[in-house]
Amino acid sequence: MQVTRAEQPLARDIDKRSLIDARHDRIFQWVLKFCALLVLATLLGAALSTLWGGHEVLFGHSLHFLASDAWNPVTDDYGALAPIFGTLVTSVIALVLAVPVSFGIAIFLTEIAPTWLRGPVSAAIELLAGIPSIIYGMWGLFVFVPFMANVEPALSNTLGQLPLIGQLFQGPPLGLGLLTAGIVLAVMILPFISSVMREVFQTVPTRLKESSYALGSTTWEVLWDIVLPYTRSAVIGGIFLGLGRALGETMAVTFVLGNSYNITSSLLMPGTSISSSIANEFNEAVGIHRSALIALGFLLFVVTFVVLLVARLMLRQLAKREGK
């Protein structure tokens, strides 16, 4: 009896404790769930409100809006083709330029640079990521555009004379245009891609690399055959993070793209992008014009979503091929 009497309060305490713990756990889970759902709700809310704001154009003339390259605020005739074209082309240029350079930066910092240099260079890259996009825009407009205006004649005279790709480098040397915007975007997304790459390259187990070196591999072979396959999915994730930023970038692009509703084969010609069209015209837009701009915003959602979906599918395909 004495024993049970002594045990009983203890058991009760344990019961009580576990009850309280269970409740705390539940509350903690709710809080976490709420945080996660908040993101989802924000995203859905933004997507739905742009869909609603643009419904006049999206549902009224959906085919015309998606297939037309007209943009006429006077007759209220709108098509999204030119902004979508500009958005995709500038983002692709940015990726083509930024990915190899980021790869180089990340390799240099993780494999080759002496330890004392790694800190300052990494800090510099992170600082680059912290520069507001309007500063890139100003720099682009006042420094880079005049520079490009001097470079572009040389481009048209050399690359522009080649068959096939020659078409990409035709036109007057304005300094503004798709190519300039793509290069400025490349500088902007460089820090994002390279810092992700650097982080994941550091996670590669040293014994893997050292084994490879022991077998007589060169640095390049270690990188290409050991480091990159080990980190592939994270590297692709980093690239798409950069792409996502390039697709939505507004101010810097507005300054250097030329803001002209054009679909051209030449990268030296001015164009427009979804976000820069919105930034340019939203202030004074009324009626259908406003609806068309909000519909453009919705299309940016769709474009970004499709791009991310493609990234996911690519990763899955890669995983399958590796037999995972």
Partner: protein
């Protein structure tokens, strides 16, 4: 949005006044609100600071753009709206609104051609329209040479620059081109944003002038004060009367003076291509929009008093910010309009 961010000096002045005015608290002050055109924002801010000092009444003006200003006054959330584009009769009638001009600004064609000094190039409306239509592509086109027989014009391609953002500047410029070129009227038309046949778009007056400065052989249009402050080459224009005129305050006022206000109901008139002998052809104004039977009578009275004060005593402030005050003849017509149209 005729001028968004005109130049730092103006902003610094506005900011300083805004700070000063927060400390000047008047007795029995009535606070009224207005919203709309960013073109008038600097001058309205300056006026309202001086007006608050004198009367204690504060004018709270938000430069949210003309479209926003029109929406706000229609919804009745502000005491007055301001727009760079006049409302038409139907809209005014439907909502019971009236409108009147507040201040004048000028728009000038600006260029960057080596060896041609500011004010030395002569252009006329038809030529300007053809350039913006893409029909005239070279600086040494016979049409331009004919207007400038003494200038040495290069055989270079003209890079056309326009505004990329919706703006009152574009509205007045495209309205002018519509008046002087039937082809422009049918192909492009007028609006705060239009479908430009050629050219590149700069954001704001500062964007357009940056492009003009950087791109050789370019031609654009900017607000007059902006061309002046940035030392950009501006052209002189052949006006409707056939005279070559300079962009000056006197010539802007001549345009406002000779525009046919008498035959326009509710000041629904864009005064580009005005007939006066000295009238600058691309002169612009902005309109204040108010209910003819205001919901809040006390506030409306303060608003009228404010604009009356601005017409009579705000001229120096307007000039110091490179705006042009309304000529006395127009002020008189506006005051008559208030008496006959507004139920106070």
């Amino acid at each position: 949005m005729l001028i968004s961010c005109k130049f730092p000096i103006r902003f610094a002045a506005v900011a300083a006044i805004a700070v000063a005015s927060t400390f000047a608290v008047g007795a029995q002050a009535t606070d009224i609100t207005g919203a709309g055109s960013s073109f008038v924002y600097p001058v309205v801010s300056k006026w309202s600071a001086a007006y608050a000092e004198k009367t204690g009444n504060h004018i709270n003006y938000q430069s949210i753009g003309s479209g926003g200003g029109i929406a706000q006054i229609k919804a009745g959330t502000v005491d007055f709206g301001a727009s760079d584009m006049p409302l038409d009769e139907a809209t005014l009638g439907k909502f019971g609104l009236g409108q009147f001009p507040d201040v004048i600004g000028g728009i000038v064609p600006a260029f960057n051609v080596e060896g041609v000094a500011p004010g030395k190039m002569v252009l006329d409306g038809a030529t300007l329209a053809d350039i913006y239509l893409g029909k005239i592509t070279k600086w040494n086109d016979p049409a331009i040479v004919k207007l400038n027989p003494t200038l040495k014009l290069p055989a270079a391609t003209i890079t056309v620059v326009h505004r990329s953002d919706g703006s009152g500047t574009t509205f007045n410029f495209s309205d002018y081109l519509s008046k002087v070129s039937s082809q422009w009227k049918t192909k492009v038309g007028e609006g705060t944003a239009v479908q430009w046949p050629v050219g590149i778009g700069g954001k704001g007056n500062e964007g357009v002038s940056a492009y003009i400065k950087q791109i050789k052989n370019s031609l654009g249009y900017v607000e007059y004060a902006y061309a002046l402050q940035n030392h950009i080459g501006y052209a002189v224009m052949k006006n409707a009367a056939g005279n070559v005129v300079e962009p000056t305050i006197a010539n802007f006022q001549a345009a406002a003076d000779t525009a046919d206000w008498k035959h326009s109901r509710n000041f629904n008139l864009v005064m580009t291509n005005a007939p006066g002998a000295n009238a600058w052809p691309i002169t612009a104004t902005s309109w204040v929009i108010m209910y003819k039977q205001p919901k809040n009578l006390a506030n409306a009275k303060v608003a009228f008093d404010f604009f009356k004060w601005a017409y009579e005593h705000g001229q120096e402030q307007a000039r110091s910010l490179d705006y042009v005050p309304l000529p006395p003849s127009l002020v008189q017509q506006i005051e008559t309009y208030w008496k006959t149209e507004y139920k106070m």
